[in-house]
Amino acid sequence: MDSEIIRVIAFLVGVIAFAALNAAYLVWLERKEAAHIQRRIGPKEVGPFGLLQPMVDGIKLMTKQILIPDGVDPILFRLAPILAMIPAIMCFVTIPFSQELVARNINLGLLMIFAFASINVLALLLGGWASANKYAVISAARAVAQNVAYEIPMLITVITMVMITGTLNLNDIVAQQPNISQWYIFRFSASPLMPVAFLIFFVCSLAETNRAPFDLSEAESELVAGFHTEYSSMGFGLFFMGEYANIVIGSSLAVILFLGGWQDPFGLFPGVWWFLIKLYCLIFTVIWIRWTYPRTQFYGLLNLSWKILIPISLFNLLLTAGFLKVF
């Protein structure tokens, strides 16, 4: 019993630390990568390679005054940033970093992640609504429509995956992919469209996390800063951390579902390092995409979801069902 409590506390601290450190250092990665794509050098003054920059930024954010503008809904305004961060941390609970390194190996882990990830949009909506700012309200409306539109193809793809794996337990899903040919992205025996399914999942997770090119809800050239226009200090900081935590979760899921999680591509040394390598490669791609493309337009985003992603993912669902039945 005692060891169980210690375990819970250890993982709680670990997960929060992981989420917070990731949020901080993904900002650094984002700035560095953006800089090098644009042939600049990026942060370099604070610490070697600017590695202490996130810490300094964090301190700056924490010491700033929290401004609560006139006319906002004071409770919702304070609640929204917390609501953005907590579900993101909750999602980490079921993510298997390695076979043993998982806070709670829940049988319905996949379901739980989607349940908590859906709360994120509520935070944006509340934040935008409570701010009493026109830009923020427009942004909140956009965020909701976008999330609703992209949850569908994402879930259809996940249903396809669940049909193949036969389980919702993330650790079991990873265990089914011992080497590169067994990874679900290349499991052509399940469906010839598996790489496409991965792409759909990836695009949807970009849209779900409001990342470029789908960052309509914080489109700075249209809506200034979107739903967090009125937030300062750690209110803004929490939104920011929540956003990066969501990117980590989206990429983790993609790694677990399609890229063999903590498994070694050659089946030799599975472990947490493989998970992290794959995870950061995907995150690198997410950032790389952001600094390459312009932003989509709203109807373009919905068209992509309803006209391309949903039909293809449905087709993939049927095809997989057929394959499962036949083979």
């Binding site: 990568e33 090098h36 794509i37 644009q38 042939r39 600049r40 050098i41 370099k44 790389w288 995409i289 600094w291 390459t292 493309y293 391309i308």
Partner: protein, 146 residues
């Protein structure tokens, strides 16, 4: 339907081409200059604020004709001179430049017949006080000569 798939494929391809280009750029050398650590030298024609050109003995060539003052569109130059015993012409006693108004057009340099003023190559000018931009060019010249 054909057009739908064609657009789908060409569109996806264009996205991958974009990624390829930005990745290529990432591997190329940096083009920025790390400003406070590296300082670039200005080209010979760079127009900084004006300054007096010293003669060999360190004095000015200025004959206090006042052409620069008159030609200046924004009136930022104030020149004063006085007659002195044993010196031909006037002697420059004051050459004040109000750099806050100067637009670096070069009218004063052009109009200067003895060629006594030129553009300096100074560009590291920053201050929070307005007075720091009022230059006494004669004093600067004297300090330079020392």
């Amino acid at each position: 339907m054909g057009a739908y798939f064609k657009e789908l494929f060409s569109g996806t391809k264009s996205l991958f081409v974009g990624l390829q280009i930005t990745f290529g750029q990432m591997l190329k050398p940096l083009v920025t200059q790390q400003y406070p650590h590296e300082i670039s030298t200005m080209t010979p024609r760079f127009r900084g604020h004006i300054e007096l050109i010293p003669k060999e003995d360190g004095t000015t060539k200025c004959i206090v004709c006042g052409m620069c003052q008159r030609s200046c569109p924004s009136g930022c130059i104030t020149v004063a001179g006085e007659k002195r015993e044993g010196v031909k012409g006037k002697v420059l006693t004051k050459y004040r430049l109000d750099f806050t108004k100067c637009s670096l057009c070069g009218m004063c340099v052009e109009s200067c017949r003895p060629g006594a003023i030129t553009f300096s190559k100074e560009y590291n000018l920053a201050s929070t006080r307005k007075e720091d931009y009022t230059f006494d060019l004669l004093k600067r010249l004297e300090e330079k000569a020392k």
